[in-house]
């Protein structure tokens, strides 16, 4: 797929190599795709395909790669105001209440207390946490903490929301329901979103397009257009069309996942022999 000029985000020929004790390791090779303004794009691949590396590259946390990441046509180098990141790991600040967590980016931007709290309260309501403004993360469930992190990212008003398996640590039912919430937010804000996930169901439930990646080195294997009606919610998972997309993607992904499994078993055997 050639990166489109009118895209909100373009990943163009990104290659990333790491030096390891066993030699050079190519994590990503010539990865290219584009995300259109307002689009929800999911990127899926087996463990070890470099999804998180790509997340860090796009978010500006990892440098030293070949190729370009462009936002609105301009190459970026380091963290960019237009990109908001939601991390896989629990990332709320334990010493801040929900309100202060969400207001964090506004606080560091120098916004006054009254205004930032007003804006933070609106976002807390948007993610369905009103009533929990003064709770600390330790007093919230895992799903609530991830919604706090999402609201905090949205507070910075990023044009592109970049998420790395934000619901990976949650149970399946909570993931489905939070997926609904995410869709509502994405549609309400017309938010350009790039979701990195290893869950086929999550990708099909949420995305307009799904990019399937190969096992190491990570490359774009295929792009699926998900032509399911919007607005969508988790009821879609019971439809025949949903099952059809899941089966198609799994067909592509199975071969890659098998390679990953074979390699990890080979490593385990080698390690066992030593």
């Amino acid at each position: 797929m050639s990166p489109a000029a009118a895209s909100a985000l373009v990943v163009d020929g990104v290659t990333k190599r790491f030096t390891t004790p066993d030699g050079a390791l190519t994590a990503l090779e010539d990865v290219s795709f584009a995300v259109r303004p307002g689009e929800f794009l999911a990127l899926i691949g087996p463990s070890g395909c470099g999804k998180s590396t790509l997340f860090n590259i796009i978010g500006g946390l990892t440098g030293g790669f070949e190729g370009q990441v462009r936002v609105d046509g301009a190459p970026i180098d380091g963290a960019h105001r237009a990109i908001g990141m939601v991390f896989q790991e629990e990332s709320t600040f334990p010493w801040r209440t929900t309100l202060d967590n969400v207001a964090f980016p506004l606080e560091v931007a120098g916004m006054g207390k009254t205004e930032r709290y007003a804006r933070a309260k609106n976002l807390i309501k948007l993610v369905g946490l009103d009533g929990f403004e003064n709770r600390y993360p330790a007093e919230l469930s895992g799903g609530m903490r991830q919604r706090t992190a999402l609201a905090r990212t949205l507070a910075a008003e990023p044009r592109i929301l970049l998420m790395d398996e934000p619901f990976a640590a949650l149970d399946e039912q909570t993931r489905l329901l939070l997926g609904d919430r995410l869709l509502q937010i994405q549609q309400a804000l017309k938010q350009t979103t790039l979701l990195i996930t290893h869950s086929i169901a999550e990708a099909v439930q949420l995305a307009d397009r799904v990019v399937v990646m190969t096992y190491r080195p990570g490359r774009v294997k295929r792009v699926f257009d998900i032509d399911l009606p919007r607005p969508r919610n988790s009821e879609i998972v019971s439809s025949a069309a949903f099952g059809h997309y899941v089966a198609q993607i799994w067909n592509d992904l199975r071969e890659e996942a098998a390679k990953g499994l074979d390699e990890s078993e080979a490593i385990a055997r080698r390690t066992g022999q030593h």
Partner: protein, 254 residues
């Protein structure tokens, strides 16, 4: 508050106080039965009864003020020097690898044995007490500061970076609050070590506050008052510990 929650909240406290009460009761009984000489181990009731004389005749409170002023200065210096030093060991990996084990070794060394050297250099005065107590307290502050900063989850730093925070903002908004619990532990340990060191050196060089008082009472075989003074040091240490814990919760809630 229902019974189960009250039990969960106050049970450990009650169990701890009961253990202390049982020990004191046993000590009282042993003393009353004459199994141990009252001159060596006076009963707790006699120790408690000695407090009015300790306060009125032995100047317990002025001596307390002197000891704690010295301990606070020593611990304060340990925090002022030890926190940046701990940060440096964290920030510069080579420095951490080079010096952390030396600081840990320093923490384990019986520095109190160097008191003759300090007496020669600084003289028999509060300067010697503060200098030695500062050296005793500092390693705990250094090591705990480094431990606290090393233990910060990388994702919290990445959140800051994703919002474009500079190094200074990262430190004040994320690194410092994230490591406060461990740093506070170091400060608390430093304060307690400083207090122990101050009392010990006052005792050894027979100069100053509570340490000198304890030595003086021991020389006079005023054992009830001597134990009273020791109990006072222990109780104030416990109060320190409690207050610094409260302070930590105030500085970093959640």
């Amino acid at each position: 508050m229902d019974g189960a929650r009250a039990s969960a909240r106050f049970g450990p406290l009650l169990a701890g106080l009961t253990a202390v009460a049982v020990c004191l009761g046993a000590w009282q009984a042993i003393a009353a039965l004459g199994l141990v000489s009252n001159l060596i181990a006076p009963p707790p009731s006699a120790i408690a009864a000695s407090f009015p004389a300790l306060i009125a005749e032995e100047g317990l409170f002025p001596r307390f003020a002197q000891t704690f002023a010295e301990a606070f200065i020593a611990a304060g210096l340990a925090v002022v020097v030890g926190t940046p030093f701990g940060w440096w060991l964290h920030a510069k990996r080579w420095a951490g690898r080079a010096y952390e084990s030396w600081v840990a070794t320093f923490a384990a060394a019986p520095l109190v044995l160097l008191y003759p050297l300090f007496l020669v250099i600084l003289g028999r005065n509060a300067g010697t007490i503060i200098a030695m107590s500062f050296l005793t307290a500092m390693p705990a502050v250094v090591l705990k500061t480094k431990e606290g900063l090393d233990g910060i989850r990388p994702v919290l730093v990445n959140v800051g970076r994703s919002f474009g925070l500079g190094e200074s903002q990262l430190f004040w908004k994320i690194l410092l609050p994230a490591s406060v619990p461990t740093i506070c532990n170091g400060v608390r340990l430093g304060l307690i070590y400083a207090l122990i060191s101050v009392v010990g050196i006052e005792f050894l060089i027979n100069f100053g506050g509570l340490g000198e008082l304890i030595d003086d009472l021991a020389q006079r075989w005023e054992t009830a008052m001597m134990y009273g003074a020791i109990s006072f040091v222990v109780l104030t240490s416990m109060c320190f510990f409690y207050l610094t814990e409260k302070l930590e919760r105030w500085i970093r809630p959640g």
